[in-house]
């Protein structure tokens, strides 16, 4: 028994990480921290992807899609981080603040 870990553990871990990411996303006020919690959420999702690919893959190799998906998620996350951080820089340059509540020019 010791050598095996039921898959639901991984999924629960991914759920917990995702929930923490969402919590960070909701409750933190600094833009960068919010951005980081998004990255955390993405990582949680990657974990569940890999777990599922394990579930479908098994001995044969055709279960690679999970890995690819995770890989693409990573790539997109990188692109997103780049653009996001650039935006944060510009916001900081214009508003001199990183507090997410101050940035509300989109109000109705």
């Amino acid at each position: 028994m010791l050598a095996e870990v039921p898959m639901s553990y991984f999924l629960t871990l991914s759920a917990i990480l995702f929930a923490l990411g969402v919590a960070g996303f909701l409750f933190r006020r600094s833009v960068i921290t919010v951005f980081m919690s998004i990255e955390l959420m993405l990582n949680a999702v990657n974990l569940s992807f890999v777990t599922f690919s394990y579930h479908h893959g098994g001995a044969t190799h055709q279960g690679i899609e999970g890995h690819l998906f995770a890989f693409f998620v990573m790539v997109v996350a990188a692109a997103e981080a780049a653009v996001g951080l650039a935006i944060i820089l510009t916001i900081f340059k214009n508003r001199q603040t990183l507090n997410i509540d101050d940035i509300e020019s989109m109000k109705n």
């Binding site: 969402v22 909701l26 006020r29 509540d101 940035i103 509300e104 020019s105 989109m106 109000k107």
Partner: protein, 617 residues
């Protein structure tokens, strides 16, 4: 034989006076107005003489008015013996009254307008009489209703005049409602509204249908001829100028109902229950309005109630199958009632507007011609033998006795009451000393000449033997045996009425007052016309007005319709307001809503796909 010329002449008078009257002088207005009516009368005489014995109806078709599917209404006039009588009465009396009106309306405002309306009225009355199908008759029917409204409300600056006009028009409309229902039934069952076609199929139709048609026609007649339930507008119609009352509310318009029932006699012959209904309604109206007439103080009101009562008589005649007697009474009544009204008009003219009998008295010496011409009419209406009233009323009473004896005795009592209130008015106005404070002067010749002519006619009228003239016209009418004893009883009743009036108002004037005070309750109810107006007002007018205001207008229209429309608008706005708050600009609240959405989506998807709750899909 150019029948169309008869109604067109007054119509021409109306058009000319109506459009250019303002710029004409009184003389020019007179020539057109009076000229057109007199010419029409002359033309009627010419055509009737030209037509000869008129055994069968002469019809002329001008153009097809309505042609839709099986409905085929042609604008065509017809003349037969009945129409002939009506034409003579309408145009004859009409021209006399127009001449009289010259004098009466001399110093009233709106001279040309009065005559334009009078001419329009003549046009519609003639159309009504000449029509040979129910729809054209109905056009005339509505037209006269309109003119009566216009003429009653002639003094439009006075509120009671306009109210009276409204009342007349609305009550007539109620009657017309019944009439139009009858027309629908006729058309649906007989396929046409033409008198000839309908009366040919009438005997074959089942009596139930005929009874309903008859009753509905009766409702129409009630409305127009001011019978019991719908008579309330006639007394108020006195608000109009007196020639109007004379022409419309005595001689012509009110008789339209009688003419219409007489015209559709084949329907009534085969609907005995409808006949009985007419008779009962007639006698009830006669008795009822006679009692009210006993105590009225306004001279015109007395004659108005007398008209209602006499119309009741006519309907009794028609109801008992004695159509010719009814028509006969119609003609004689036209003579003496027009005379009575015109006389009252000249009295009012003389006293410059005073209408209350209690402020008159002793006018015998001041306006002798009016007095004696009115005396001819009074004698005629009371049923004193050689005069016209006696003959026609007696014929009706005989038919009533033959039909239902109790009706005869009621009729006799009413005859007595009629004699009493007419002579009461005469003695109050012309005998005793003058109680008023105006200085009466005799009316000009243009007014008393028509009075004289009418006086002669009401005296001689009895000898124009209408029943013999019409006996071929009404087939299948029950034969009425001669019965001299009944005649003696009715004459006696009339004389007793005259004696009582003489006793109470000339011999011992105190009796009237003591009687009034002793029978306090009876006197006040009679004086207030059995509070019928108040009852109607409370029972019908108030609920309808109130209902329409509070229920229909406030409740339905404002509440329901406007409510729902505005409601939708405000609901959208409210929703918009709420959603607007969603866009708070605060990123974290957006995030919360995103999370909320995703949680919701997951739950819904889960519930939709798996049958966790026992089979959702």
């Amino acid at each position: 034989m150019a029948l169309w010329l008869i109604p067109i002449l007054p119509f021409a008078g109306f058009v000319i006076n109506g459009l250019f009257g303002r710029r004409f002088s009184k003389a020019v207005v007179n020539t057109f107005a009076i000229g057109s009516v007199v010419l029409a009368f002359a033309w009627v005489l010419k055509t009737l003489l030209g037509l000869g014995s008129l055994e069968t109806a002469v019809t002329e078709h001008y153009f097809t008015w309505i042609q839709s599917g099986s409905l085929n209404i042609g604008c065509d006039f017809a003349v037969d013996r009945l129409t002939a009588i009506m034409l003579l009465v309408v145009t004859g009396i009409g021209s006399l009254i127009h001449i009289y009106a010259i004098g009466y309306m001399a110093h009233e405002g709106g001279y040309y307008r009065f005559f334009a309306y009078m001419n329009l009225f003549m046009f519609f009355m003639l159309v009504l009489v000449l029509a040979s199908n129910y729809l054209l008759l109905f056009v005339g029917w509505e037209g006269v209703g309109l003119c009566s409204y216009l003429l009653i409300g002639f003094y439009f600056d006075k509120k009671f005049a306009t109210d009276a006009g409204n009342k007349a028009f609305i009550v007539n409309r109620i009657g017309d409602f019944g009439f139009s229902l009858a027309m629908f039934l006729i058309f649906v069952n007989f396929g046409s509204l033409d008198f000839g076609k309908v009366f040919r199929q009438a005997p074959a139709a089942d009596t139930g249908l005929l009874t309903t048609i008859g009753l509905l026609l009766l409702v129409g007649a009630c409305g127009k001829s001011a019978q019991l339930p719908l008579y309330v507008w006639l007394p108020d119609a006195m608000a109009g100028p007196t020639p109007v009352s004379a022409l419309i509310h005595a001689a012509t318009m009110v008789t339209a109902g009688v003419y219409m029932t007489a015209r559709s006699w084949p329907i009534f012959m085969h609907a005995p229950t409808a006949m009985d209904a007419i008779a009962i309604m007639g006698i009830a109206t006669a008795v009822f309005s006679a009692t009210i007439g006993l105590v009225q103080n306004d001279i015109k009101k007395v004659f108005a109630y007398s008209t209602v009562s006499q119309l009741g008589y006519m309907f009794v005649g028609v109801g008992c199958g004695a159509f010719s007697a009814g028509i006969w009474h119609l003609m004689t009544h036209a003579f003496f009632k027009a005379l009575l009204f015109l006389g009252a008009g000249s009295v009012i003219h003389a006293l410059s507007g005073e209408q209350d009998l209690r402020n008159m008295g002793g006018l015998r010496t001041k306006i002798p011609i009016t007095c004696w011409t009115m005396m001819c009419a009074a004698v005629a209406i009371a049923g004193v033998p050689p005069f016209s009233g006696f003959f026609s009323k007696d014929a009706i009473l005989l038919a009533a006795y033959n039909h239902a004896p109790w009706m005869y005795w009621l009729g006799v009592v009413t005859a007595g009451m009629t004699a009493f209130y007419v002579f009461r008015a005469m003695f109050l106005a012309f005998w005793g000393e003058y109680r008023g404070h105006a200085h009466p002067h005799e009316s000009p010749p243009v007014m008393w000449i028509p009075l004289a002519v009418l006086g002669a006619l009401s005296l001689v009228g009895g000898f124009i033997n209408i029943p013999k003239f019409l006996d071929g016209f009404f087939q299948g009418v029950p034969e009425v045996p001669e019965n001299s004893s009944l005649m003696i009883v009715s004459i006696a009743a009339g004389l007793i009425g005259i004696f009582l009036a003489w006793l109470m108002y000339i011999a011992k004037p105190a009796i009237a007052d003591s009687l009034a005070s002793s029978l306090k309750l009876l006197y006040t109810t009679l004086l207030n016309k059995y509070f019928v107006d108040e009852i109607y007002d409370a029972a019908v007018v108030k609920p309808i007005v109130g209902g329409s205001r509070w229920v229909l207008w406030k409740g339905a229209d404002v509440g329901l319709i406007d409510g729902s429309v505005n409601g939708a608008g405000s609901m959208a706005q409210g929703a918009g307001g709420i959603l607007r708050k969603l866009q708070s600009g605060n990123i974290r609240s957006y995030a919360t809503w995103v999370l909320f959405g995703s949680v919701l989506a997951i739950v819904v998807l889960f519930l939709a796909t798996t049958n966790y709750w026992g089979g959702l899909q």
